[in-house]
Each structure stands twice: as C-alpha cells, then as structure tokens.
Amino acid sequence: MKESYRFQHRHILGIEQFSPADIFYILDTANSFKEISNRPIKKVPTLRGKTIVNFFFEPSTRTRLSFEIAAKRMSADTFNISASTSSATKGETLIDTAKNLQAMNPDIIIIRHSSSGAPALLTRHIQSSIINAGDGTHEHPSQALLDLMTVRERKGKIEGLKIAIVGDIAHSRVAHSDILGFSKLGAEVRVAGPATFMPPHLDMLGATVCDSVRDAVTDADVVMALRIQKERQDDPLIPSLREYSQFYGINSELLQYARPDALIMHPGPINRGVEMNPDVADGERSVILEQVTNGVAVRMALLYLVMGGEGNS
C-alpha cells in the first residue's frame, strides 16, 4: 500500500462514501483475513476486548451470522439484539435505544433496519462506529463488497467487466450497493426486469437499463439475480411469481447468451425456480457459496478497519 493512502472511515454506511482506493484496500484486507477461516483454530486476537453489538431490526440469518462469526474469529465479544426482543416493542425510539447501548460503550454497532437512513441517523447521535448491515432500500455495503471480492478473485479484475443484475432493482439495497461498487471500479453494469422494478434515474447510480433480460445477459461476465419478494400488498409490481420466473428468471437457456465463463451470483436466500432455476444455482459457474465464504472475510476486514486497523496483532 502506498504511504499516502489511509483508510479514514469510522463508519461504514454505504458504498457511496468510498473511493475506488478505499474499496481496493478493503478487498486486499479481506484477502489477508480469508485464510484464518481455514485454520484448525479459527481465531486471531486482533479485536480482543472489543465489544460489538449486532442490532438487527429486520430478520436475517446469513448476514448476522456472518458478522458474528467474523467478530468472534477476531476475538471480539459479540452481542445480539433483535427488534422483537428489544424495547422497540415497548415503543422506545431508535435513538433512545442506541443511546442506552452507547452508555455501555460498545466499540461497533452493526445495524440492520427497515428505514433507509437509520444508520446515518445513528451516527448523528452516538459515538460508536456504525456499520450498515442493510437499511431499507438504500444500501447493503458489506454485501456489495463481498460480491466485488468474489468477482475479483475469479476474474482477476473488475474494470471492463460486464455485470448483469436482474430483479427488483428499485427495492433492492443489494442492487444499489452493487451498482455503485461495480461502476466505481470501472465495470459496466446493466440491469433488467419489469419496468415496475426500475427506479427513476438509474443512470445516476451507474447502471444502464436494458429492454430485456436477454439484452442484459448477452456477453455478460457476471449474471446476478436478486431475490423476488413475495407480492407486496400495497403496490402491485408484478402479477405473479409464475409470470416473473417465465419472463425474467435466470435459466440455462438464457445463459447461453452470456459468456461461457460467466459467473452466476445471488445474495441469497434463493427462491428456487423463481428468479433462478436450481440447475443454474447449483451449476458449475455458480459462485453463490463463495460469496458467503467471502462475506466472512469482508466483514472481518470492515470490523478491523473501522477500529483503525490496529489492535493486538
């Protein structure tokens, strides 16, 4: 690393805040942590004595587990709060809950919340480092970083690659962060899905909207499918999952248009048969499980870096 570069971020709120240099630094750091997860004793003392709180207002299995495993492998003390067991059920405001936590002096608070901007709100009221594990439909930075790590590992680079993302772009924080991350590093991001899934001014984020899934997937180096949520009551976006899978699902027929060595990705959990067919999800080009493995490494890197990149070595 060049002397002049320093990772300056105390909070991880979104990909938007990062420069390309920041992202490469995080990925390189993640690389160096990756092998820890392969040791017989999967532990380093780097974050020993640090208190890390997982503050999850929305249900999550993989992300929370991933952060918890990352923290514990670095010897930190971790604690979990979920919305159902928190005093939010007693009507306590987010800020009050956070301030009460703050009074117990956690080093890092990892928050997932259904309101876009909730992590940003917290940074204005408490002193701990805040890591965004997904806020509303805004960003999910650690997911995008592990996606970038996976692609870089397999392809050797990000710049110049064609990335196709298919699904509900408008309501996907994963898509937002991925679009920002991949385009920041010089990839060409193309998205596809029904028009009801496309937010206005997508080009501003860095993606091109394609008329069809086939167009998006043609010559793609990476094909990423997003999880289709069950129909929303308040907003009729698609008529049925059946129709979605017929016209927008990733299947092997569609993949013929992608490059033969294209990577298949999905943030999980997968609705098998809806946005992606099982044979594609389980096929030889799928790197979905590598994404999960890299997720632990990326999260170890983020925890390490917000603590100043110092700690017991």
Partner: protein, 425 residues
Amino acid sequence: MESLIILQNGRLLDPSTGLDARGDLWLQDGLIAPVGNSIPDNSRVIDLDGKWIVPGLIDMHVHLREPGEEYKETIETGTKAAAVGGFTAVVCMPNTTPVNDNASVTRFILEQARNASARVYPAGAISKGSDGEGLAEYGELKEAGAVAVTDDGLPVFDSQLMRRAMEYAGSHNLLVISHSEEMALSRNGSMNEGIVSTRLGLRGIPAAAESIMVFREIALAELTGQRTHIAHVSTAASADLIRQAKARGVRVSAETTPHYFTLTEEAVAEYDTHAKMNPPLRTEADRQAMRQGLQDGTFDAITTDHAPHSVLEKEVEFDRAANGIIGLETSLSLSLQLVRDGVLDPLRLIEVMSTAPARILQVPGGTLVEGSPADVTVIDPDRKYVFTKDSIVSKGKNSPFIDWELQGKAVLTIMGGRVTHDDLP
C-alpha cells in the same frame, strides 16, 4: 397605550390602490386615519427612514395545533410567531384534535384567540372528522366564524363528495380549499420521486400525485361553477393546469410557499427530516415554476403551511418522521428574496402576502385605505440577520432555514392599532 400611532417617512405600498410612494400613515383607535395637520400629545411618532409601510400580512395556511396538540404549538405561541413574521392575520387549519368540523371547536378557537397576537380566521373541515364520508355543517361553521373549509392534511378522496362540498359551501359563502393529493400514488412516499429518492433509497411521491387531483378540482370547479382554492402547490405541472384554467375563466385560486420557491429535493441531503413535508420539495424546474407562477398571476398568494412539530416527531427515521416545517418567522425574508431576484416587484409581493388573501377570504385587511382596520406591517427590506434556533418564537423548531443568513424583516407589526411586534432599532 397610545390611541394614535404616526408612522412617518416610510415607503407606502398598497396593492389595493396601486400606491407606491413616500409618506406617512396615521393609525387611530384601531383604524387607518386621515393624516392630520398637527401631532397631538400622547401619540407615538416613529420615523421610518424609508422602511416599507404595508397592509398587515395575511397567511391563509397555518397549523396552530390547538385544540389537542398544544405541546407542538398553541394559538398564543403561533400568533406570536406570526406577529414576529409580520403577519396580522392567519387562517388556521382544522386538522386539530378534535377536528374543527363543528361550531363548538370553531368558537373555542376564536375564544382562545381573543387576546392573541394576530387575527385568527378558522377554516372548518370539509367532511365530518375529515373522514371523507359526509359533509360537515357548513352553515353552523360559517355562523360560528369559519372563513373556509378544507380537509387539509388529507385530500377528499371521493369526487362526488368534493363536488357536493363545493356546491354546499357556495350556498354558505365558504371558500373550499383543496389539499390536492392522489393518495394511492403517494402511499408510503416520504419525498419527491426522482434522482434523490433513488439515491437515498426512499419511496418517492411523483409530481402526478398532486397534478392529478389539481386537475380534478379544476374540473369540479368548472362543473359546479363554484370557486376553489388549491393549497400548497409544489409542481410545475399543477401550475400549468391552474394557469390554463384561469385563462378559461374557471374560479380557481392557488397558493405556494417559500420552501417550494426556495428549496428543492436536494435539501433532503442526508435524510434531513427538516426537509420533509407534504407535498414534498421538488425539482429545480418545479421551483422555477413556483416563482414564475407568482410572477404571472397563476398563484394568488404566498402561504407558509406553518406546521410545528416537536423533536418527538422529527428526530426519528426519515420515513417515520412527521411531515411539515414551521414558516411564519421566515416567510417574509424568503419572499423578499423574490424581489431582490427580480421575480416580483414590491407591490406584487405585498399583493400575494396581504391584499389577495384578504380578497379571497373576504375578510377585512390587505389595504391602507382610510377607515380600514389598522393592520399594518413595517418592513425593513435591508436588515440582515442570522435565523438562529434560539430566536424562534414558535414552539416548533423544525425549520430547514436555521442558521441561514437572511435579509429583510418585519420590524413593527400592528394589529387593530395594537403593536404586536416591535423590533425597531
């Protein structure tokens, strides 16, 4: 208290007569009096050194929160804020608790306003409880003192009800004010649908949510031949519809607010809830259209939609924050900027802030003609100041203009001959 106030050497601006000239104004026994030959004892004489003397400003869209939400604002504190802002009269919206859909609540408000710092003209509800189902009793409301009816805060969803409201309000000579919002399009939205909402991951409210209902209100006004007033216009699309309707002779009037002609959706920045209101801040093109609309007569009035909230409602996640900002104390400064920017000349500014509201509401005021109530505002258009949070008189401190350097202020506000605000040097 002096029975005679003499304002000397000011710039008299009276849109009701087209007067724009240097001169004096005499106020006696609560009325505008003829200028006398000699100055009696026990009169207060003030040399204004060129400051503007205008008819008292009138804000026809204010939320005073009383009865029911006195922790946010009361009639007393809200009218004090109004006086500081140069207003001598306000129309208070009926979305109180209970809703002002009957004579008792109207009478209560007027009773509370008896010693207030500004005249309070209550607006009653269009429907009982503002539930959008049946008409409220307009005859009783009018008799009790209401000047208009509106379900503000909510649109009237049922077009037949709105049609009947316009007709029946016409029978009782009440103005129907429309909060124009197609709620199916705005559902769960918290800011304008566009570039910024995409970037911030917030559900957006498209401009069409407003213009669709503006179109409907215009069509109903045409159908019934009654008059209607469109509240808080925020989009160019709505402005175009209103302009065309006026050209056709439809009896429609409209208002916009300082935040719509000063700010855009960019003010939301990093989820600043002091930039959250309904309708939301829009694009730069819409902002320009608001200015254009004031200039070309599409809009008749500047109002504030003064909506005080406490930190309880604002210091939360953006999508959960209450809609609205205060506005009484900054409206004049922000509106004077339109004069400095060459958008409005001084007479036109005072017209949209005083004379036109009085005419639309059919209440006294908006004029400096002899015999009129002594509702007068003295404006120092050059006074520069920083709008600090500590200086805010309203109970609500929810303003996006805090710490802004502003220019132009009401330095003396007189209502019915009584000084309600004095900031003369």
